[in-house]
Every structure is written in C-alpha cells, then in structure tokens.
C-alpha cells in the first residue's frame, strides 16, 4: 500500500482518462450522487454525503471536503455494460424476398471507473458471471465491459441501509479493481490490485505506507463494519427461502409492494431483459431491441397470453427467492451485494432486510441443486441465421411441419428447440421435430401472429433461426430397459426425433411404447410415419383421442387411461411431453405403475424469450428452462411442478 | 323565389367538429350559421375546487393544438391572483415555448389544412402527390416547432414543464443550442413559404373589421399583455375585457358567441395582431410583409394565410434570438404562497386572443374560472363573413360554392375543441339531419 496526497487525484484522473478513456465516477446531479462521466476532480461530490432511509434519499453538506464521503446513489456501473436499451440486430426483407440479419455492435468505448465501492465491484463480478461466464456469453456486454480500468474505494462511512458485510462483499475492496483507494483527510491510501493498477500507481507521487497506515485502514474497515445498518443472516439463506415459498409474509408484503420495478432497476446485479420487435412502417425492416425488464412486470411471466405470476405476492416471491436463493444455484453466489439501493429507492419504503428476516423466521430448509459448472462459454449474439423453407407438410388443420435448410444443427440432440423468427413479427421458441442431414424440421401450430405467419410460409421463403438450444432427452439413460413415451397433442413434436432414433436402434431399445393422446383423430400428428413404426418388433403404439365420431375404431379417452391398462413394469423409464396437466396425471399414473420420479423426464414450459438464460424470463425456481431444460428429470422439478405463481 | 342552401355537416381540416349552413334567398343571405358539434366538457365547472397548481395541467387538455396558450393564460391569471412574480429569464423561456406553438400550429394550418383549398386538393396528403416538396416543407416547419416545444416542455401536446411561476425544469442551454441550426434553416424556408403564399389565387372579399389583439408589451403580442387593442375604439385593460365583450348563448348554434357590448362582432388572430403591431414584427418578418405588399389592414379573410406565413417567419426569428441570448436561469420557477384573490390572464393563441379569469380561495383552490377562447370570439365574425360571401357564391356551381364557404371558415383556423367547453351538438345535429 502506498500513501499519496489527495491532490494526486488530479494525476489519477489524467492517467485514467489517457487514450481517450471515458472516466465514470460519482458526481452530484439532480439532487443525488450519480455515477456519470466526469472530467475533473471538482466534479466529484466533494463535501457531500447522502443520507438514506427506506424510500428516502437526501443530499447533505458534510463538515469536511471528503470526495468519497458518500455511499451509493441510484445508479451503478450496471448501465454502462448492460445497456438499459439497445438494438440487438436489424432484420431486413430485401426486394427479392431474401432476408438479412445484421448484428448491432455497440461502439467500443474504453472506460475508466473511479470511486467504485466494494459492493458495486462485487455486483460487477456477479454480472460478469451472468453475461460472460455462463453457458452463453453476451457479446454486447463483453464489448462494453472489455478493457475497463477500475479504481475502487474502501468504504469508510457506510450508510444505514448498507449491509455489504452481511453479504460478504465489503466494505474493503479486495478484488475486481485495479486500484483501491482510501481517503483520509487530504491523504490517499492506495493499493494496487492488478498489474495495471501497479502501473498506474507507479505514475503517482506516493510513498510506501507505514504499518500505522495499514493499521488505520484495518481499524477504519472494522469501524465501518460495526456501523452498518441491520444485518442479514445469510447462513443457508437460499435454502431457508425455498422452504418458505408459502409463507404468509408474501401476502403481507404484497399489500405494501407497488410492483413498480424500482428495486430491480436500481439493483446493480438484476439482469432481466425483454426483447421487442420494432418494425418500420413498411413492414420490410425491423430492429430487435433489448430493454431492461423486471420480474415485477406482468409480461415478464407471460406465457400464451397469461401471466404465470399474476399476483404481486408471486412476483415479490420470484424476486426475493431469485436474488437471495435461486441465484446461488444458478451462479454460485448470492445475487445481492448488500448495497441497499433496493431499500432506498423503493417508493413504498419496503426494507428487504426486514422481509428476509420475516420470511425465514423458522428452521425450515429446502436444498437447492448446486450450480452447474460451466467450463466453456460460447458467444451468443442473439442474431438469427437465415434459413430457407425446403418443404411444408400439413399435419392437421392448424399444424404444419416446416423442413428448413439451415446451418448449425449438426450437434442437435432430440428434445432441443430453435428460435424461429420473421422480421417485423417476432421470434418464438419452437421445438425441433426432426433432422435429416442438413435439414431440420419444426412442427408448428398456428396460435398467434408469428406462428400463423410461420405456418403460411412456402417452399423457397426464408426465415430467421437460432439454435439448437436446451437440454434434450436423455437417450443414453433410457437405453436398456423398457421405455414409455407419453405425448399429448403437439407434444409429440419434440419427441419425434427421439422416437425415430430409438426405433432405429432396436438393440438398445427393445421395448418401446408410445402413448399418444390428441384432440381428435384428425389431430394425430405424423400418422403415416407412425404406422411405419408399428411393424418394428418391440414397439407398441397406443393412440387415443379426446373426441371422435362413432366411425373411429381407436381409443377414446385420456392417455392416462391407456397407461393404466398397460403393465409398464418398474424397470421402465418414461419421457413425457404435453400440457402440464396431462403430464401431472401421467406422472402420477406412472408412479402407481411403479415408475418413480427419478426415472421420468418431462419438458417444462416457460417463455424462452432469449433461449440463452440471459433474459431471465424462463426461470422456474432455480432453473433457466431454456438452458437447464426444457427437459428435466421429474424429481428435479417435482416440488415446483404444477405450483401456482412460481 | 329562388333559394339556395350551402351546407357542410361535418367541417373538415379544422380542429374539432362543426358544421355550417348558408342560405341565400333571392340574392340575399337569410341564414348564415356556424354550428359546433362537440359534446360539452365543462372545464370551467370542474376546475372549481382544484388546486391552483393543477390548473396548467388541466386547461392544457382543452386543446390539443394550442395547449401552451391555455397554460400561459392560466399561469398569468393565477400568478396575478396569487401575487407571484416571475423572473425575466423565465418570461423569455415562456415566449420561446409559445413561439414553438405558433410555429407548429401555423405550419399545420398553412400547409396541411388551408393550402389544399387554394391548390384544389382534399388534403395535404393528396396534395403531396403533385406538390411533395411543399408538403414536406410544411412538415419540416411543423416538426421544428414541435421539437422546440419538446425541448422545453417535453411533448408537443400537453407539455408537462409549464407551471405557475415558470417551469418545473428550465431547458439546458446545450439542448436549445442544438435546435438552432434547424430553426435557422426553417426560418429561411418560412420566408420562402411566405413568398409562395403570394402566388396563391385569393378569392375576392373585403370586410370591415374591428380588430382585437393584445397590446401593452414592447414586442409583437404573444405571451403577455396589459390591454386589448381595438381598431377604431379605445383599448381595454385585460382585467376589463370580460366586461367589454359579451358572450351570448344562441339557440341556432348552441354556442357562446362573443361580441362587443354593442353587439358588434370583432376579429382576433393574425390579421388583428398584424393590424395593430406590424411595426413590432421581427425585422425579418417585417421586411417580408413589405415584400409581400401586405396592407396593414387585411380586409380579405382569405389573405390570412399570408399573414400567418409572416407570423411563422416572425416566430422562427424570435425563437432564434431568444435562444442566442439564453442562459440557464438560476431557478426554473418562483414560488408563491396560496392566497385568496382574482387574476386575469390573456395571451395570443395562434388563432387569437385567449382570456382567462380565476378566483382563488385562501388555500389556493379555484373558486371560479372563466375561459374565453379565440374561436368563440371569432364565431360571430365568421358568420358575418359568410353573409358577406353569400352573394358571390350564386354564380358558382354548388360544390365549388360550398368549398369556397368552407375555405372562408378555415381561414380563421377555427379551433372548435377549444371552444367546446361551452358548445354542444344537439340542436344543429337535429337540424341538419333532415
């Protein structure tokens, strides 16, 4: 550690801004200390402090002229790297009908950050993990985040809403910065935490800090910890929260919560986003724009026009259990850094520390899965590739199978899905129903504007495609014993390629039974193909319909009735895809037949808007359905399955 | 006996819904009626009991096209009632945003609503097929006005920043400066546009008007005044305007019509302002008026399009001057304590003078409100003009004559929604649904 005069800040500003770097630091604007571009030391909030309490924030004059004598303001570094609103790509339909997708690249702007607290440095690490070290890497975030110089500040004067010491993120800057500063009157204690920091420090006029300087800082940090507001008990917090999903406090807090999204917006780690189509008036071109979203909006959990989480209590539960619970399973750390922003900027004055204590006022614990390690991230631009329709097969009145020529499906696994898109209309996840050489098939039911338009495509027309995404069926785990496949309605589509592969491999799949329920005989998909399978030894097909005319000689009734009549045997394994209600009854029927939950796999449904776990929409408890699923072994999701408002 | 009736059940290219009937019998006009169809909205009634600080937000909703006029007249009146004094810096910002409204409203009227009459089109969109540059120019000028309003007030219709005492936030200097180039280009374009109005064929009509416009400020009347100037009569202090004119509720149109106390209709708006204050126009606009050889007393209502074009140039030039001198004021507004009082406010809306009177109680809530919009003041004058036009229509075919009558009414740029806090459809609807 080195000791410098505070006047060296001038020099540090110069160094930080070298090479045209934008310097971002705290400054007073509109009655708050905000994090914004500054050029000169005088723009720091010298002589200001921010006094905060739930739902209130006031600037006050200090008795001294400390430059860093404040805590955190309404904004954070988040907006610098994860833009509040940004174009992902532009789509164009050329006059010849061909499509083009052009990625939007944010202009590379090198940044230097100064005055970042330990809590916010922790938040940057959390966001790095979300955007850069998950299965998919977000290039827009990466481009903005790359090559950022970070000058942290040890927090010597925490506010009453601070609880970084509870969350283990502060007050001392220990990582994530190049330099760490401590302000002591007109002196600075400076620590270099990286080679770049060393280089910067070498250019400052500074002397080696003494043992008493070290001791002063240690004491200041201890004092800071002691001055923090209410502490949060973080031991097993994620498991304690998940054990209290039905806690009456959720209803109580919902009577105070405005569901306004302020907490998630000011949170330096919240990353949920929404992507919308902005089409030009002529319909020939459109942009896909990503914007900050929040689990407190209705649309965030909207699925087929209905909100999964309609009640404020459910949204509050989603937020708090994700931030302090699911996050641990998803990213191996809490989503909270103890900065206190969600308390200060809550118009309803809700203090999350109080809510956490009230919600976990018992000894219950529910274990969560541990975080899946991610050894290799792949870049995901969210930009579609152009695919061309090779042929269109009409399966039933409102279902067609599009055979597409598209690249990138070589490593496809049955059960995975694609994101299909049309400019100006939008994008949706569609399961892959088959692959044949370089061609992939998607079976689509016309239920909305996009699927209607997809179903109307003709051979030679183009569309956008991303994928394949998600976890498919565990064919290897199924091999060897009897396999029961249960499909309902269009749920047969994601199973078809798995069935084909099992049919084609009689040595490993000697006993294969497909139970398939559809609405009417006309709605039975792939009827001709299935008839071809019937001759295959060891394969049995049971099809049933909900309603039929008297001329139909097949089964009438629900698919579980068929299952009940069959002896499936306790060695069987089952894979199921269909409406959630149908899957729930099927799982029960299988359990009665002796097939336990850990030998049943189901596909889960959530709105897989980005398909990469980056938008936060598809969350189901500790999972992102788009990348942890859509196929789950039933015991993984049993406690969440069919539960309202999760 | 010959009788011809010219009638339009739904007037188009005017703001709001109105109709007119003109009946000529044996060469003499026997009936000239302008009726206004809007359901009453009762602003003056529901303003009572509201807080003084809410009035600017509420009265803006009287009109989507000239909300700033309403906000400014209301602010003036309430500031007077509350004894609140604004700073000169803030007054200039008020004039600036008002310039924006004049630009937006005049550009809309000249190019989109009135020009198609002169060139023989049903709409500016139709006109764009043959005169695209003209329509695009109109849209550019209008957009410049909207941008100016947006910069200061947030949005063109019902801006949010105007308040008692000033603005909730004063515009940043840089933001205004950023508009300067566009305004300057548009000033040139508006000069060209005014020259173009001279090429239009003006139907003949010459009327003897009593011109009423605000006066008492050193510049061209806009956002403040002490008096109402009347041609050929002594001027009237703003406070007394309510007594100098009378509003009457006439059965045939179910509208309040204003006349002078002796029953004489008067005219407010561009021609009146030009008549009284030609010499106070910005030099660029004044030179333009000279170049166009506009008489100070414009007696032909069709020529109002030329006056409006001159005012458009004036508003651009005025706006640019204000921006050039602009410094961010220390405070965006001054505050006043609520008190009981009476206040009067009059400003020049694009289509004429807009007069408000409020009485406040000691907690600052509204005890009574009176709003006299320009269109109701011009209404009697419009009917008088229709009467004057009548005989000249007899030589024309019916359709052309009807269009001509409509064109005359349009030359007033009537703002019917403004007027509808006191207008209703019933009577005229029933009468016209024969």
């Amino acid at each position: 550690m080195m000791l410098a005069r505070r006047a060296q800040l001038e020099r540090l500003f110069e160094l930080a801004r070298e090479g045209g770097r934008a310097l971002i630091g705290p400054t007073v604007r509109d009655g708050a200390i905000v994090f914004a571009e500054i050029e000169r030391v005088e723009q720091l909030p010298i002589g200001w402090r921010d006094v905060q309490s739930p739902g209130k924030y006031r600037l006050e004059r200090r008795s001294d002229d400390a430059a860093f004598g404040h805590v955190v303001g309404p904004n954070s570094a988040k907006e610098l790297f994860f833009a509040p609103s940004e174009t992902l790509y532009r789509a164009e339909r050329r006059p010849d009908g061909k499509l083009g997708f052009t990625a939007h690249k944010p202009p590379p702007t090198a940044k230097a950050l100064i005055g970042v607290r330990a809590c916010d440095l922790a938040a940057m690490r959390v966001q790095d993990r979300v955007f850069e070290r998950s299965q998919f890497r977000d290039p827009q975030y990466g481009a903005r985040r790359a090559d950022t110089v970070v000058i942290g500040v040890h927090c010597t004067e925490p506010g009453s809403l601070c609880f970084c010491s509870s969350m283990g993120t502060g007050p001392r800057v220990t990582e994530g910065a190049d330099l760490a500063l401590a302000e002591r009157g007109d002196e600075l204690l400076v620590d270099a935490l990286s080679p770049r920091g060393e280089a910067l420090l070498a250019q400052l006029e500074a002397t080696e800090a003494s043992a008493s300087d070290h001791a002063w800082l240690d004491a200041a940090m201890d004092a800071s910890r002691a001055r923090m507001g209410t502490a949060v008990d973080v031991r097993d917090l994620h498991e304690r929260l998940y054990a209290n999903l039905d806690h009456p406090r959720f209803a109580e807090v919902a009577s105070r919560c405005l569901s306004c999204s302020s907490c998630t917006s000011v949170c330096p780690t919240c990353f949920c986003s929404n992507a919308v189509e902005r089409s030009d008036l002529d319909g020939a071109a459109s942009s896909r724009v990503r914007e900050w979203d929040s689990c407190f909006t209705r649309e965030h959990s909207t699925l087929h026009g209905h909100a999964v989480r309609e009640q404020t209590s459910e949204r509050y539960r989603q937020w708090i259990t994700h931030k302090f619970g699911a996050w641990v399973a998803q990213f191996d750390s809490s989503g909270c850094t103890g900065c206190g922003r969600c308390i200060a900027w809550c118009p309803a004055q809700i203090d999350v520390r109080e809510e956490l204590a009230a919600l976990t006022n018992n000894d219950r614990r529910t274990p969560l899965p541990s975080a899946r390690s991610c050894d290799a991230s792949q870049d995901e631009t969210l930009v579609p590739r152009v695919a061309e329709v090779v042929s269109v097969a009409r399966e039933s009145g409102d279902v067609v199978t599009l055979r597409l020529r598209a690249e990138g499906f070589e490593s496809f696994a049955p059960g995975q899905f694609s994101q299909l898109s049309l400019p100006a209309i939008g994008e949706a996840p569609i399961s892959i129903s088959g692959r044949d050489g370089a061609e992939v098939e998607h079976t689509i039911r016309a239920v909305g504007a996009l699927t209607d338009a997809l179903c109307k495509l003709e051979p030679g027309e183009q569309l956008g495609v991303r994928g394949p995404y998600g976890r498919g069926w565990p064919l290897d785990e199924l091999a060897g014993g009897p396999v029961v496949v249960v499909a309902g309605g269009i749920g047969l589509a994601p199973l078809r390629e798995a069935l084909r592969r099992m049919i084609a491999d009689p040595a490993r799949f000697t006993d294969l039974r497909l139970f398939y329920g559809a609405r009417t005989p006309d709605d039975l998909l792939y009827a001709r193909e299935m008839l071809g399978w019937v001759d295959r030894p060891g394969f049995r097909l049971y099809a049933t319909v909900d309603r039929a005319s008297a001329t139909w000689r097949g089964h009438v009734g629900v698919v579980t009735r068929l299952l009940k009549r069959e002896t499936v045997g306790d060695r069987a394994r089952a894979i199921i895809c269909g409406p959630e209600t149908m899957m729930r009854f099927t799982v029960d029927a299988l359990a009665r037949a002796g097939v336990p939950h850990d030998r049943v796999w189901v596909t889960m449904e959530r709105h897989m808007k980005c398909a990469t776990g980056l938008c936060g929409r598809c969350q189901l408890g500790p999972y992102f359905v788009c990348k942890d699923g859509p196929v789950f072994r039933f015991d993984e999701v049993a406690s969440l399955f069919g539960r309202q408002g999760i | 006996m010959s009788e011809r009736t010219f009638k339009v059940d739904l007037m188009t290219r005017v703001e709001g819904e109105g109709s007119f009937t003109l009946t000529v019998r044996d060469g003499a006009v026997v009936d000239a009626r302008l009726a206004i169809f809007e359901a009453p909205r009762f602003f003056e009634a529901f303003l009572r009991g509201r807080g003084a600080h809410e009035v600017c937000d509420i009265v803006a909703r009287i009109c989507g096209i000239c909300p700033i006029a309403y906000q400014m007249s209301a602010a003036r009146a309430l500031e007077q009632a509350m004894g609140l004094v604004t700073t000169p810096e803030i007054e200039r910002v008020r004039r600036l945003i008002y310039c924006g409204e004049w630009i937006e409203s005049h550009a809309l009227h000249v190019f989109m609503l009135h020009a198609p009459d002169f060139l023989g089109y049903e709409s500016a969109i139709e006109m764009a097929r043959d005169h695209k540059p003209l329509v695009e120019r109109g849209l550019r000028l209008k957009r410049a006005g909207n941008r100016l309003i947006e910069c200061i007030g947030g949005r063109p219709s019902h801006p949010v920043s105007p308040r008692l005492g000033g603005f909730s936030r004063a515009p940043a200097k840089g933001a205004l400066r950023a508009l300067r180039d566009e305004l300057s280009r548009c000033l040139d374009e508006s000069v060209d546009a005014a020259r173009w109005t001279r090429t239009l064929t003006m139907p003949e009509l010459s009327n003897d008007y009593v011109f009423a416009s605000l006066s008492g400020a050193e510049d061209y009347p806009l956002e403040r005044a002490t008096h109402v100037a009347l041609s050929g009569r002594p001027s009237v202090p703003v406070e007394s305007w309510g007594e100098a004119m009378v509003e009457k509720h006439v059965a045939h149109s179910n509208a309040l019509q204003a006349t002078l106390r002796d029953g004489t209709p008067y005219l407010c708006g561009p021609q009146a302002r030009f008549f009284h204050h030609r010499d106070k126009l910005h030099p660029i606009a004044r030179a333009l008026a000279d170049e166009l050889a506009l008489p100070t007393e414009v007696r032909n209502p069709f020529q109002s399009i030329m006056v409006r074009a001159v005012e458009l140039a004036h508003a651009f030039a005025d706006a640019i001057d204000i921006i050039d001198r602009y410094e961010l004021p220390e405070r965006a507004y001054t505050e006043g304590a609520p008190r009981a009082g009476v206040g009067y406010g009059a400003t020049e809306a694009p289509r004429g003078l807009l007069w408000h009177r409020y009485e406040t109680s000691d907690d600052g809530s509204i005890v009574s409100a009176t709003i006299v919009p320009p269109t109701s003041q011009n209404q009697a004058r419009i009917e008088a003009d229709l009467r004057a036009l009548g005989p000249s229509l007899l030589a024309m075919d019916h359709a052309a004559a009807t269009v001509r009558a409509e064109q005359l009414i349009r030359s007033y740029d009537p703002c019917i929604s403004c007027a509808t806090h006191f207008l209703d459809l019933r009577v005229e609807r029933e009468a016209s649904c024969e």
Partner: protein, 257 residues
C-alpha cells in the same frame, strides 16, 4: 397485398390532441399514407367516408353525449379493428372529472341557457359501450406507440406496448426518483408507462396521463403520500386527475373523499 387497408379516424369528446399526434408523425405520415388508405380523417382531409367500412378505426374521445353512443356503435359495426387512442377514449378523459357530480349544476355554471344542452351524466370510455380491440393509453398518446400499434396491426401481431410502470422507464433513462429524493408525490409507480417518464425527466412527479398500470396498488402509494404528510383532499385530487375515471384511480380517490 391487394387493396390497401382502410383507416378511419373518429372523434368523440376530446381535445383532438391524440389525432393530432397522427398528424404529428411528420416523418412517417406520408409513408403511412402509402401503406394504408386514410379513408376517413376529417381533421386532415375533406375526403371523408363516415359511413364506410374500415380495417382499423382509431377512436379518440370519450362518450359524453347521447348522439355519440349511436355514432360509436355504428363505427364498431363497420370496423374490423377498433383501437381507442388516448385517455378520453380509454378512461373517460379529464372530462370524467364531472362524473358523479351534478351535471345540471355544471351546465348552469358554463352555459347561459342550459336548456339547450344535452349531455350524459358521465363521461365514459369507449370500452364501456362497445368491444375494443386495443387501447392505446396517454394524454396525449405517444407518437411512437401510435405508429407501433398501426404497424403491428398491419402485420397482424400484437403491439409491443408493455403494461409496465413509469418507474421502469424512469430508471432506464437514469432519472433520479423525485419521490425518493424530495417526497414529491409521483404517480409513476402505479401508472402505465409509455411517456418515457416525461414528468420525472422534467423534475416533477407523474400525474398519471397514461392511466393505472395493471396491478396498480394505489392504496400502498396513497399510504406513502399520507406518511409524507399529504392530506385527504389532496389525495383525492392526486388520484382524480387526467385519468381519474379509470377504475383503480377512481376507487382510490373515492376512498379519501
């Protein structure tokens, strides 16, 4: 595409500001006219077709006089899609402030000869009378949102207009919350976004032009205002404003009366 889709613009009780927004789409106006046939738009064109059929009808204004009811039913019958534009058409507008009060007394306040006046007791939204396909909020509506509704309807998708709070827009813009920093009463937390957080941008509290958002827990916000010292009469005014006729705001204001 064969014939261009036909667009009609209609007006009930209103200030014209919303249809003016269509004229204010300067850059897009001529392009729009290429895409659709603007068949009835009296404010802009003398070619009208009040009795024709429409693919999309934009309706501005509230129902506040008897004749408007018949007019509205007729428009509905002739339009494939009926879109209400603005606070009047979706919530009754500022003129709904008269609702629940003695209209006769109101008429006498404004009119010299009240016997000429015919009006309904309440100013009501279009959806109170006929089915509405889409409600575009705002006083006035936002230009971009209007274009979004039209373009979305043209390609057959649902408009990408989110029912989220003003707070979310405010935070995306990096505005410092006026409620938190100085207790300025702001309806943003319970108000439908779409204005791009205009009022907070201009350093004042939101006054609810876009009406209540879904799940607008107005009582929780009123509780905050009351904690900050707001008296009931002011609470009533606060929720009974430009969109005071909307259910959530009306109920809340009534609660404090």
């Amino acid at each position: 595409m064969n014939a261009k889709p036909r667009l009609g613009v209609f007006k009930l009780a209103s200030c014209d500001g919303c249809q003016l927004t269509l004229l204010g789409c300067e850059d897009a106006l001529l392009a729009l006219a290429e895409r659709v046939e603007i068949a009835h738009f009296p404010e802009a064109s003398s070619r009208t077709d009040a009795h024709g059929t429409f693919d999309v009808a934009l309706v501005e204004g509230s129902v506040s006089a008897p004749f408007q009811l018949d007019e509205l039913r007729s428009i509905r019958a002739r339009s494939k899609r009926l879109v209400t534009i603005g606070a009047c058409a979706t919530a009754g507008g500022v003129q709904a402030l008269r609702n629940g009060r003695d209209v006769r007394e109101f008429i006498e306040t404004v009119y010299a000869s009240p016997e000429y006046i015919s009006t309904l007791d309440a100013s009501t939204p279009v959806s109170a009378h006929v089915a509405v396909d889409y409600e575009l909020r705002g006083c006035p509506i936002d230009k971009q949102q209007l274009l979004e509704v039209i373009t979305a309807l043209l390609v057959g998708r649902r408009p990408e207009i989110r029912d989220e709070s003003v707070c979310l827009e405010c935070k995306r813009k990096g505005i410092v919350c006026v409620l938190v920093k100085r207790d300025e009463p702001c309806l943003g937390p319970v108000t439908h976004g779409g204005c791009d957080a205009l009022c907070p941008t201009f350093d004042r509290g939101c006054y609810g032009c876009f009406g209540p958002k879904e799940r607008a827990p107005t009582s929780a916000l009123a509780a905050r205002f009351a904690r900050d010292g707001m008296v009931p009469v002011e609470l009533v005014r606060r929720f009974r404003g430009i969109t005071g006729g909307a259910e959530a705001f009306r109920t809340e204001s009534d609660r404090h009366e």
